[in-house]
């Protein structure tokens, strides 16, 4: 079984080889200038269509057309190659016209969102594994609701058992919002425990004024706070893993559309050069 490092090395070498081969090809056949643009344009279009095929593969699961992981490897490295071809296609210059600028922005943002997505895909799972329980994204709202009910039951029980509304008041004033629904605060993106620490200090300060019986309930309440904090962490990171595709995929469709228009415009006005 090939290790990930070895696979990375193999694919990178293939990428370098193909890039050099294409460059040599362009230099050999590429004079005059417009030919480079035509050749690189067609190669770019082919590459982008091949990249697009990955999303088609993901929808076809019943046919024996290769593992999705192999397709993704191809998608990632062909994406990098297309960026190099794109730079060659634009002759390493910034676009000047409005449409060309739009096209370049679409390409750059599609490629960038792809790279960011790939980085997310490699980093976020490591954090998800190491914090809290493994939860299925769609079930997070249900788990959050369960925690809310548990917290409410706990403070009600405390009120009944201790004849004191202190913990219930504390919950109502400081925690009811926190338990209300799953949240996606940005600090979870970098794994910050700061807010939990703030809650802990506040909680400990409050606990100084409780009797022993109330303190037992307060301890259990803080366990629920910790669980909710971890649940929000999972919610934030899993949301990120799911939503970046909502940027990458629409951008791809927009790029394909703009490329089609670009191609039509090129061939409409290429006559005198031919």
């Amino acid at each position: 079984m090939m290790s990930f490092n070895r696979r990375r090395l193999k694919n990178s070498l293939i990428l370098i080889f193909v890039s050099l081969a294409l460059n040599t090809f362009a230099m050999y056949f590429g004079t005059p200038l417009y030919r480079i643009q035509i050749w690189s344009g067609w190669i770019l279009l082919t590459l982008i269509l091949l990249l697009f095929l990955y999303s088609v593969r993901k929808k076809i699961n019943l046919l024996p057309i290769g593992k999705a992981s192999s397709w993704l490897q191809f998608h990632a490295y062909a994406g990098l190659l297309s960026s190099l071809v794109f730079l060659k296609h634009t002759s390493f210059q910034l676009p000047t016209g409005t449409f060309e600028t739009l096209l370049a922005i679409l390409f750059a943002s599609t490629a960038l969102s792809g790279i960011i997505g790939m980085i997310f895909s490699r980093i976020i799972p490591l954090h998800l594994t190491r914090r809290g329980e493994e939860v299925i994204y769609e079930r997070i709202p249900a788990f959050s609701y369960k925690l809310k009910v548990q917290a409410q039951d706990l403070v009600l029980e405390c009120t009944l058992q201790t004849n004191s509304t202190a913990l219930a008041d504390y919950y109502q004033n400081h925690l009811s919002g926190f338990f209300q629904k799953p949240y996606m605060p940005l600090f979870h993106l970098y794994g910050s425990m700061g807010y939990l620490h703030t809650l802990e200090i506040k909680h400990n300060t409050f606990c100084r004024y409780l009797n022993e019986q109330e303190n037992q309930y307060a301890k259990q309440l803080f366990e629920l706070i910790r669980k909710k904090y971890d649940l929000d962490f999972h919610y934030t990171l899993q949301s990120l893993l799911k939503t970046w595709l909502f940027i990458h995929v629409p951008l791809t469709y927009a790029l394909l559309l703009a490329m089609t228009v670009h191609l039509m415009l090129i061939y409409a006005f290429l006559g005198h050069l031919q």
Binding site: M1, M2, S3, F4, K58, I60, N61, L62, L63, P64, I65, G66, K67, A68, S69, W71, L72, F120, S121, R122, I124, P125, L126, L128, T129, E134, I136, Y137, Q238, L241, K242
Partner: protein
């Protein structure tokens, strides 16, 4: 409603009853039922009318009546679990290495059970599972079901495995029988019991030597008969022990240099013992709930570290784990499955050095283990002298249990490797049972659920697994059918809907045979079988016409057995985070974990 046609095979006639009554193995039971008849020969002479009168039911009525006879358990078993099958001279009845769910009583004719090394390589390969064609796959892709678990309830014959498709004829059977040693079995004898009762592959190929009529009885029938009649149970158990012992000894590489008569001599002194419970899943669930899934609390000790080794231990079926005491616990070194042996290196060491080394490791049954114990003096006299020096040294050096245990004891703060820890985890949770366990690397899994979607697209729009399960570090054993080596889910299935693919060993459920009783779902120790409500083309739950109850079906992963390309979940994972692994192939699994 269950109809007569949905039984395994409803063929039942007075002739069939006569066949059953003539079997010697049934005699004791028959005597209980029919005290007037003293021997099977007498019974065979009776006519149908007498038989019906005696058994107090009308055969023709029974054929018309869809309900099972409830007044006679023997007849009920016959109706539900037996059929008459006829084979031509030269037909292969069962094939070595294939999985089987039934045993055969010989009603007439003769069969030849080929003795090891057997015919396995000479048999034509035949895939009994129907896979979807490319066109069917495209059709399914184009026209997916609108609702989950939508099915056409009237559709018949949905079984994935066709039993009749397995029939193979050997044209050169005469020369095959000439070239191979075999045991001839004739009328009144039974074969196929080991695979049927032991949930293991067939140990021998059996060929029809003449035209023969056999009563095929599913393992559920054998199970019920064993419960019904003590004499039958004893008889079948002793047959199982005798046959499985011999069959196992014949196939062991350790005894490959010995003659058949020498092996038979060894068999005479070999004892057969079962450790643990054959239906271990109940204890497993209880231990799981009580969080006592650790070795010392829940497992049956076979032999302890420090004991004097007096036998060679051979695992006939089930699992056992080898461990040594480590601080106040046990460290697992390896686990043993069918065909493995324990203690050979110690016996060889003592024999070679004329010493008296005691065991350095313990052996525990994991769930259950059928163990054959060959006395060590037999191994010293008959096996070791015939082995080459290099081979003995290999045993002494390759399996360094003693040194390993010693090293570990010398270093009380030994660093546990991934290998050690995974072994502990896999055996604690009994995952070693899995031959296609779904392992997910949560460090690479992006929780995209492409695996779940792929599974659903191939299985009635409803995934057959949960992306959830026990975790060791960043490896999760997901709630997906593991296609166990010891599939306890099959034990209580009343209709035989859950069965093993004879060739590749996958455990599959025939939708049309499933009556939704939940026995398999309750029996599965890993909770990998789910009961679902069948729906019609409008997405409405289907109800039984008679009982008005919703129709339930047992569902689980079938490893995409009917699809091109293998398990869709594994193929759909874009990040190489999911793999179906055979846990018994530890090096391959560790390799995958350490990529």
């Amino acid at each position: 409603m269950i109809t007569k046609d949905e039984y395994w095979d409803p063929q039942m006639s007075s002739e069939l009853i006569r066949h059953i009554l003539m079997f010697q193995l049934f005699d004791s039971m028959i005597k209980d039922e029919l005290p007037d008849y003293s021997s099977s020969a007498d019974i065979f002479k009776i006519n149908t009318e007498d038989l019906e009168n005696t058994l107090d039911f009308d055969l023709s009525d029974r054929l018309e009546d869809p309900k099972l006879p409830d007044n006679n358990p023997l007849i009920e078993i016959i109706c539900k679990h037996t059929r008459i099958v006829k084979f031509k001279k030269g037909d292969i009845i069962i094939r070595e290495g294939y999985y089987g769910n039934s045993a055969f009583f010989i009603a007439s004719g003769k069969v030849a059970a080929i003795l090891p090394p057997g015919l396995i390589n000479q048999q034509p390969e035949q895939l009994p599972v129907k896979k979807m064609s490319l066109f069917e796959s495209l059709k399914k892709l184009w026209n997916p079901p609108l609702y989950p678990e939508q099915r056409n309830i009237i559709e018949k014959n949905q079984a994935l495995v066709s039993f009749n498709a397995q029939r193979v004829h050997l044209d050169n059977h005469a020369s095959v029988l000439k070239k191979n040693e075999y045991n001839e079995l004739s009328s009144g004898e039974i074969f196929g019991v080991i695979a049927a009762l032991g949930r293991t592959p067939r140990t021998s190929t059996v060929i029809a030597k003449t035209y023969c009529e056999l009563l095929e009885i599913r393992w559920q029938g054998l199970r019920d008969l064993r419960q019904l009649n003590e004499a039958f149970r004893k008889s079948i158990d002793s047959l199982y022990k005798k046959n499985s012992l011999l069959a196992h000894l014949y196939t062991l590489p350790l005894f490959s240099s010995l003659s058949r008569s020498a092996i038979q001599l060894i068999a005479e002194d070999t004892s057969f013992k079962r450790y643990g419970s054959f239906e271990w899943q109940a204890d497993y669930k209880e231990n799981l709930e009580n969080n006592t899934l650790s070795l010392q609390k829940s497992e049956t000790l076979i032999i302890a570290e420090g004991d004097k080794l007096q036998s060679l231990y051979l695992v006939r079926s089930g699992f056992a784990r080898v461990s040594y005491n480590y601080n106040n616990g046990y460290q697992v070194i390896k686990y043993l499955g069918r065909g493995d042996c324990f203690g050979l290196e110690t016996i060889a060491y003592n024999w070679k050095n004329n010493s008296n080394l005691h065991l350095q490791t313990s052996l525990h049954a994991l769930g259950y283990a059928d163990i054959l114990q060959v006395p060590s003096y037999i191994v010293e006299r008959m096996v070791l002298p015939g082995m080459k020096e290099a081979e003995i040294n290999k045993h002494l050096n390759s399996d360094l249990l003693q040194q390993f245990a010693k090293q570990a004891k010398d270093s009380p703060v030994k660093e546990l490797s991934l290998n050690d820890a995974v072994l502990d985890f896999m055996s604690d949770y009994h995952f070693i049972n899995g031959s296609s366990t779904m392992l997910i690397d949560t460090d690479r899994c992006t929780r995209c659920d492409d695996c779940v979607t792929a599974c659903a697209s191939g299985h009635n729009n409803n995934p057959r697994f949960n992306r959830h399960g026990y975790r060791y570090d960043h490896f999760m054993v997901a709630n997906a059918c593991m296609h166990c080596s010891d599939p306890v889910c099959m034990i209580d299935c009343p209709t035989g809907a859950i069965q093993r693919n004879p060739l590749e060993g996958q455990i599959i459920i025939s939708d049309s045979m499933c009556i939704g009783c939940s026995s398999c779902a309750n029996a599965c120790p890993y909770e990998n079988i789910r009961m679902v409500q069948a729906r019609d083309s409008k997405g409405l739950p289907i109800h039984d016409n008679e009982t008005r109850q919703a129709v339930l079906k047992a569902t689980k992963c079938n490893l995409c057995i009917d699809q091109l390309g293998g398990p869709a979940c594994e193929r759909a994972c874009p990040h190489d985070a999911l793999k179906r692994v055979d846990i018994q192939d530890l090096p391959q699994m560790i390799n995958w974990m350490n990529r």
